[in-house]
Amino acid sequence: MSAMNIDIRSFLLAGMLVLVAACSSSAWSQGEVQRAADLGRAGKWTEAKQLLEPVLISSNYQSSGRAWFVMGFIHKELHKSQGEFGVDAPERLAAVACFQRAQQLGLSVSDQQMASEALDFLSRSYFREAIGMVEGFTWGSTNDIIALFSRYEALELSLNPNKDLAPQRSDLNRYLGQAHAMLLDSESPRTSAESQAIFEAAIGHYRSALESDPGEYATQYNLAITLYNEGVRKLKSIGHETSMFELMEIQDGCVALFEQSLAPMQAAHAQQPGRLETLKGLMTLHYALSQKEESDRYRARIEQIIGDR
């Protein structure tokens, strides 16, 4: 009996010690989380990270939503202050992972709300960056742009599974089409194979844009212009050394492009029948296709519109 009492006492004592140890460890770590948050408020994000990182490694805090939540903000602010960019920017990736983990572990209502807003911000930062890369587009950056946009899509869908992102993907594709088309217009030296690849990429992006948004005027118009201009570019490449056979072959290629251009230009015109740029496009296309009567018809329409102004 006495031995049993001793065993029970020993067991209770051991249990208490474990509990005290756990509580003191928790209190210590909660203190670290709070201190890290205070450092963050003071703008000392690097110190905050150095303080909190070891805490998160400890098993006690693997399941603390609040700790991951604070760490998420530290990474997010470091991402902003360091001017990170790129699909694999480590602070941004870490911030996303921390916030998502915090949400899985459970947060207070207000923290949950802030974590969602922070994730939304990070998501849109991917989008902004993708758009920024399209603005300063260089040949070969398409994969990075698409990867950034895919990250944006994935995050947006994690926040709002019902969100329809097809229109934005369509817009991105249209912008990529434009970026490629502008590259074609630039006078940078490139091989004909490169030019062809850029042209095909432009057309591919426009067509992708139209798949998800067939009624977009700008995409139809831009697609038509890119096809037509490529035809003109080929025509201009003819020189005094071009043989008669090559001349005929090039002309066939140009006419094929002009013919392809007609459908999207007509589709754009159907949407905005009074718009002068499409009327001019149709007039020019029919002229290039040696369809004088059709060309004259659009010309008369343009003159009528101008006269009515």
């Binding site: 602010e77 434009q178 003109v232 006419v255 002068l276 001019k280 040696s290 343009i302």
Partner: protein, 237 residues
């Protein structure tokens, strides 16, 4: 004649670059400009010229509360409308290439194969400009190529011997040009439905949306002009 060379049409202002909308993931508000309609979710990024100046207009409003932040961000991205329509006169470019081949691949009597080789364009300044730009420094055999422009057929009367004449005239006017060079080895080229009937030796025609040409070989022979096989082989008639 290229419709784009029409003064009114060339000078008119098109409403290009009015807008290219994008669904703005970086703003929460709905904005409008120039009366452009916005799409369903009101999230759009207005697209304008790709100019760095305008890019600087990006506005970020960040609200950071405690250690966390809730960021509302408004950004403007700038995108140009796609490339502008290339306003080059495509038909004239094609014709210019053909004319050079007609000059280079046919044969004139020996006495006309000395001195400059003259190629005249009547009434199509665009075609003349393209030819002059592309071929003015070239030669036809051993002859230097001279490209001349005439406003009308009358001006031709005072001109020296011209090996090739291109005119867009038709009917009686074309016939008068033909008569003025009768019995001379001049390759008269036209772009008219009745071109060959009115004395042209080569006439441009539209076939399946392409520029092709027909030849009056019989009349060419009468004028001591030997049309080259390569030219003959591509003729539609």
């Amino acid at each position: 004649m290229n419709p784009l060379t029409s003064k009114e049409i060339h000078c008119m202002h098109f409403e290009r670059s009015e807008y290219v909308p994008i669904h703005d993931a970086t703003s929460r508000g709905t904005r409008t400009r120039s009366g452009t309609a916005l799409r369903d979710d009101g999230l759009r990024l207005r697209a304008m010229k790709l100019s760095k100046k305008m890019r600087s207009g990006a506005l970020f409003i960040a609200c950071i509360c405690c250690a966390s932040s809730a960021v509302n961000l408004h950004a403007q991205g700038q995108f140009a409308q796609s490339s502008a329509l290339d306003e080059s006169d495509t038909r004239s470019i094609t014709k210019a290439n053909f004319l050079f081949h007609f000059a280079a691949s046919n044969e004139w009597p020996a006495e006309f194969m000395e001195g400059p080789f003259r190629l005249a364009i009547i009434g199509n300044p665009s075609l003349h400009a393209i030819l002059a730009d592309k071929y003015a420094m070239k030669s036809i055999g051993s002859q230097s190529l001279e490209i001349i422009a005439f406003d009308d057929a009358e001006s031709l009367e005072k001109a020296p011997f011209t090996h090739v004449i291109y005119s867009e005239e038709s009917g009686e006017t074309l016939q008068r040009i033909s008569e003025s060079i009768q019995d001379q080895p001049v390759l008269l080229i036209s772009d008219a439905a009745d071109g060959l009937q009115n004395g042209a030796l080569i006439n441009f025609v539209a076939v399946n949306n392409r520029i092709r040409y027909e030849i009056n070989s019989e009349e060419a022979s009468k004028r001591d002009l030997l049309i080259g096989n390569r030219i003959l082989s591509w003729a539609v008639k």
